[in-house]
């Protein structure tokens, strides 16, 4: 039994869009389009009566200024009654985890019976900002009373004010980019380039296998283009079936050209995609006639100083989640670790090993990870829950773990149980 308080929460099903490298086949879709697509397909696959949904919760890390609450746009799909409340969350790369665990809490508390949770990100469609000076001028001009005053305000615009500002993937508190942090972790934990490349290769190989045998593609709702002549996307487009260590070795490090080890090959790519997971109270699942894939046994979050090892918080979140679950590391039959960078995965594993936990790679990321599949920030947690729950059913595994590191020095860990 779960040691969490309240009602038991079941994972009924999950699905996602294909995960595709930013700027490629999904580039014309906005994050909200991807989120709605995943949610709608989940409805189709489960034949769920849309009116049964009590709440929609979605995660997104870089929201569009035009769609600030993406979850509400999902709950306003025409399939749903318009009366389903919805909120969006941001716990950086663990945002979908946060959406799912928030859903868990609402159900456990008895505030809801059925919740659709998930996440979405389009890194093809990131908000590009106007320069601060241009923004100031536009605001002033909008307040101008006369045409003359308006023209006078506009006259202050200089050419350099027109240069747009793109958001950077860097820590606001330290200015360090995520890649630099991964580089720091590789150095501090003495993780070699070869080890990183090997992990990345493993990720691709496992993902390619999961794609070939249909375990991964079963989770994917093929993306059907709205315009004729555009290709259908039925699988993730970052997975390389033919990469080799030799090829990877040729790449130059990105963040530290001289002594660095982090390359484009052993890091997760910028990705577009969305995921959705259907959660229900145990009673609701029974009442609607669903056989749950798994139950949420426990979860925990943790944070570390971003200036230290930015992506090492899982080493604190996982023990907490295991303790709350009342189980031990060795009880886990499957583990999904989010792969922001190979150096981060190997650092996390090193941290786990330091606790005396035995690392059994055979049960870790058995269908590859974010390095191969891609990492739409807000969506990854939904993919992990879906993949883990499905694989736990296939292998009849009792306990499974999800570990996700996140920007800001944070981490989220979730323990699922099969029965």
């Amino acid at each position: 039994m779960s040691l969490l308080n309240g009602r038991r929460v079941a994972v009924i099903a999950g699905c996602r869009t294909p995960f595709c490298k930013a700027g490629t086949v999904l580039k014309e879709a906005r994050a909200v389009d991807l989120a709605r697509y995943a949610a709608r397909e989940l409805l189709e696959r489960t034949n769920l009566s849309p009116g049964a949904v009590n709440e929609v919760i979605f995660g997104q890390v870089v929201p569009s200024a035009l769609v600030p609450n993406i979850a509400r746009e999902v709950s306003l799909l025409p399939q749903f009654p318009k009366e389903i409340p919805a909120f969006s969350v941001n716990r950086a790369c663990a945002s979908a985890n946060q959406a799912i665990t928030a859903a868990h809490d609402q159900i456990a508390l008895g505030h809801a019976d059925v919740i659709l949770a998930g996440g979405a990100e389009s890194l093809s469609d990131i908000p590009i900002l106007a320069s601060r000076r241009l923004a100031d001028i536009l605001v002033t001009a909008s307040k101008a009373r006369t045409l003359g005053a308006r023209i006078a305000t506009f006259a202050k615009i200089r050419l350099r004010d027109l240069i747009p500002v793109a958001p950077a993937i860097a820590e606001p508190s330290t200015g360090e980019s995520m890649g630099q942090s991964a580089e720091t972790m590789a150095k501090q934990n003495h993780i070699s380039r070869e080890e990183q490349d090997r992990w990345a290769l493993r990720s691709h190989q496992m993902a390619a296998q999961g794609t070939a045998d249909g375990r991964l593609t079963d989770e994917i709702a093929p993306w059907l283009p709205v315009r004729p002549g555009v290709d259908i996307v039925a699988k993730d487009n970052g997975i390389r079936i033919d990469s080799s260590l030799e090829q990877m070795a040729q790449l130059r490090p990105v963040f530290d050209r001289r002594y660095g080890t982090v390359t484009a090959a052993n890091a997760s790519p910028l990705t577009d995609g969305a995921s959705a997971v259907l959660l229900m109270s145990e009673d609701a699942a029974r009442a609607h006639g669903y056989e749950p894939l798994a139950y949420i046994r426990s979860y925990a979050v943790a944070a570390v100083d971003p200036g230290w090892q930015l992506l090492q918080a899982p080493v604190w979140a996982v023990p907490k989640a295991l303790e709350r679950a009342g189980i031990e590391w060795k009880d886990l039959g499957l583990i999904e670790i989010h792969e922001a960078f190979a150096s981060q995965v190997l650092s996390n594993l090193q941290g786990f090993a330091a606790k005396g936990w035995e690392i059994n790679e055979a049960i870790i990321n058995v269908m590859g990870g974010s390095i191969a599949i891609g990492h739409p920030f807000g969506a990854t947690g939904g993919r992990l829950v879906t993949t883990l729950a499905n694989e736990m059913r296939r292998r009849n595994v009792q306990f499974g773990l999800i570990s996700v590191c996140a920007q800001g020095g944070m981490a989220s860990a979730v323990v699922l149980e099969r029965r």
């Binding site: 709608r40 397909e41 189709e44 034949n47 025409p78 093929p222 059907l224 283009p225 004729p228």
Partner: protein, 707 residues
């Protein structure tokens, strides 16, 4: 209980029309009496300075004049008097010493709009249900209560003729742009703003309106020479569209022209006179009968004692070709249902969704939808290569390849995925429903829904129950067809059903004519002049010769030599002349545009085009072939009533509406005459013309389809 009530608030009489014993407001004799009584009372009432007039019905202002009163008219003089009475009442309204403002929400049509036009100020809600129009032309008459006079005076001759001659309704925003209404407001403040307008008119006197249409309006509408051009162009357009078969548009044109040339009173007089002539004309009678038939069909559940239909919230479609996609797109646009499409592979599904989406997109392009409505509707379309989502569907329509085993396979797969209560409809034109249902575990849930292509445009749906179909499956299919904007007739599960059955001998006869050396263009011209929207040869090209050939074979197999298509047509199919879709048929096609007759067909058919035969003979052969088969099919009970048969022919392939449908036409010609014609044709051309038993019997007993 009076229909018109009012109370006086602060100098304004706030009047409500809420016709008793009627779901909508119509202007009947009793309403007219009450209007007079109201005007008399309000004129005398010293407290009243102005009037604000509203409807008490939901989403309906005034739907028009009472059509039931109209059909009892016997003579032109009676009808003219009815028109004069209406005009007199509205003259009284227009000349009322206290200003009258109307607040319009919902349909404001025909006599309702004429009433609004006679008032002094019009406020309309910006709600989509608010539609203004003069649909009289569709009933073969003209707006006879001053509409032909007041509308052109208000919005100019061009815009007025657009509305009057097409008989179409405009949404309120368009009506506002045209100057038809003075203000456009949200429904919540309609009453307040209308009352305020009435007050304003009382305080400041009548308002002056600007001429509509800017410079072009001045040049064309504002002077006699410009108007001459407008009338000439309109007349030309009317003649091109009606081929002279419909007198009403020309009469309306004359009423407008006369009024603008000779003044309001002379115009009203001419309008009433023309109304009188039209109202008792045969064409108008036929159009009114069609109107009543379609109205009755809208209330018909499709089977005696059928339970209420199941409400379809989610429609599943198997087969995402042109037909399936057309059904999907139309269902989304018209019924707003959630649509899940399925086909064998994703590329087909994607293509189907794109085709369906184009139907929704077209509504956006034509501004029938806002971009937000459009976004909502396209989000209703989805699909996959499996049966995901079918478990929540109330209705599935399959439109897969026209082959029994394929359709039965799809039926079995669907039954496994669908809830037990779901209806399985098959869109077939040639396979008996009972045969398909043989594969069913739940044959009572299996039914035929025969749509016509292109689905978005063709208004008819044939619903075909098999002998085992449950009544609620029938009512569900009929009701959903209606939500898709179709007129649904329930027909018997016999080969060709109704439409293709009676079209078969007509098309065959066209082919016989071709083979006797009559030119395709001559045949088409004769039938278009008869009143068909396109001739049979063009129709063959549009439908596809292969499709027509297959349909012909089915009929031949079922009914023998009588319905055998001439063998020579097969040569054209073999030559790849499949019609428009192949850009190669009887006519030449260049970049999708139809040109003249393709001379290459003559050697293929083995004929020399000769001088041809008179149009009248072409018409007689083609119509006799159809009438004979139609009468026979009615005798077999293929349609439930002559009404359904006529509506099916009019909406299915455009049998001339002014002739009332094939069975009305047969009644008009007289069974004895048709019998004699058929006998003569049979002697000359063969047994295919042998009169059927129904006609023989009718000719003998002097009976008719309609009493």
């Amino acid at each position: 209980m009076p229909s018109i009530t009012w109370d006086v608030r602060d100098g304004i009489a706030v009047v409500t029309l809420n016709k008793t014993d009627s779901p909508v407001n119509v202007i009947s004799q009793s309403v007219k009496d009450e209007v007079y009584a109201m005007l008399t009372a309000l004129e005398r009432d010293a407290r009243v300075r102005a009037v604000a007039f509203f409807s008490g019905k939901k989403d309906n202002f005034i739907a028009g004049a009472d059509i039931e009163e109209f059909v009892t008219l016997k003579t032109a003089a009676e009808a003219e008097q009815l028109s004069r009475d209406g005009q007199a009442m509205l003259d009284r309204v227009a000349a009322f010493p206290k200003p009258i403002a109307v607040g319009i929400h919902g349909s404001c049509l025909g006599g309702g709009l004429e009433f609004a036009l006679a008032c002094h100020y019009r406020v309309a809600t910006d709600h989509p249900k608010t539609q203004l129009g003069l649909p009289e032309i569709q009933l073969g008459i003209l707006p006879g209560a001053g509409g032909c006079q007041r509308l052109p005076r208000l919005i100019g001759a061009r815009a007025a003729l657009d509305i009057i001659l097409a008989g179409k309704s405009e949404r309120a925003p368009k009506a506002f742009r045209l100057g038809l209404v003075d203000e456009l407001v949200p429904p919540a403040i309609l009453q307040d703003i209308t009352i305020a307008a009435a007050k304003r008119l009382a305080d400041r006197g009548p308002m002056r309106r600007k001429r509509q249409g800017g410079l072009l309006g001045l040049l064309l509408d504002g002077n006699p020479i410009g108007r001459l051009l407008v009338f000439r162009a309109a007349r030309k357009q009317v003649l091109a569209q009606t081929k002279g078969n419909y007198p009403a548009p020309l009469a309306a044109l004359e009423a407008v022209r006369h009024g603008l040339g000779h003044g309001l009173q002379a115009g009203l007089q001419r309008e009433a006179q023309l109304f009188g002539q039209l109202a008792v004309s045969d064409v108008s009678r036929k159009l009114v009968q069609i109107f009543f038939a379609t109205t009755a069909l809208k209330k018909d559940r499709g089977a005696a004692d059928a339970p209420p239909p199941v409400e379809v919230k989610r429609l599943a479609i198997v087969g995402t070709g042109f037909m399936g996609a057309g059904i999907a797109g139309t269902a989304v646009v018209q019924a707003g249902v959630d649509v899940r499409m399925k086909d064998a592979d994703l590329p087909r599904v994607a293509k189907g969704i794109a085709t369906a989406r184009a139907i929704v997109d077209e509504r956006l392009t034509r501004r029938r939808l806002t971009k937000f409505e459009h976004a909502r509707l396209v989000a209703l379309l989805s699909g996959g290569a499996d049966y995901a989502g079918f478990g929540a569907a109330e209705l599935v329509i399959e439109a897969v390849f026209e082959e029994l085993t394929v359709k039965q396979q799809v039926l079995k797969e669907c039954e496994a995925a669908l809830p037990a209560s779901a209806v399985f409809a098959t869109n077939t034109s040639t396979i008996p429903i009972a045969r398909i249902a043989e594969a069913a575990r739940r044959p009572e849930q299996v039914i035929g829904m025969h749509f016509f292509s292109p689905v978005a445009r063709m208004p008819l749906l044939e619903v075909i129950p098999s002998s085992r179909t449950a009544p609620q499956a029938i009512s569900t299919a009929v009701a959903f067809g209606r939500r898709m904007g179709k007129t649904a007739i329930v027909v018997k599960d016999t080969p060709g059903f109704w439409v293709n059955r009676i079209l078969g001998p007509y098309m065959n006869e066209a082919a016989h004519l071709l083979l006797s050396g009559v030119g395709p263009a001559d045949i088409d011209r004769a039938m278009v002049q008869f009143g068909f929207p396109v001739g049979p040869i063009t129709l063959l090209d549009e439908v596809g010769l292969d499709v027509a050939q297959h349909a012909g074979e089915v009929l031949q197999t079922a009914f023998g030599e009588r319905l055998a298509p001439p063998a020579a047509l097969a040569a054209l199919v073999k030559d790849g002349r499949l019609g428009r879709k192949a850009e190669k048929g009887f006519f030449v096609y260049t970049k999708g545009k139809k040109g003249g007759v393709d001379e290459a067909i003559y050697p293929l058919l083995g004929v020399q085009p000769n001088g041809g035969i008179p149009s009248a003979e072409i018409v007689q052969r083609l119509t006799c072939a159809m009438l004979n088969e139609a009468a026979r099919a009615v005798g077999e009970g293929v349609v439930r009533s002559p009404r359904d048969g006529d509506i099916g022919a009019i909406f299915g392939f455009g049998f001339p509406p002014f002739r009332g449908g094939p069975l009305r036409y047969l009644d008009d010609l007289g069974a004895d005459r048709v019998y004699a014609d058929l006998q003569r044709l049979a002697e000359r051309l063969g047994a295919r013309f042998a009169p059927c038993e129904v006609i023989v019997e009718q000719a003998r007993a002097r009976t008719r389809f309609y009493s």
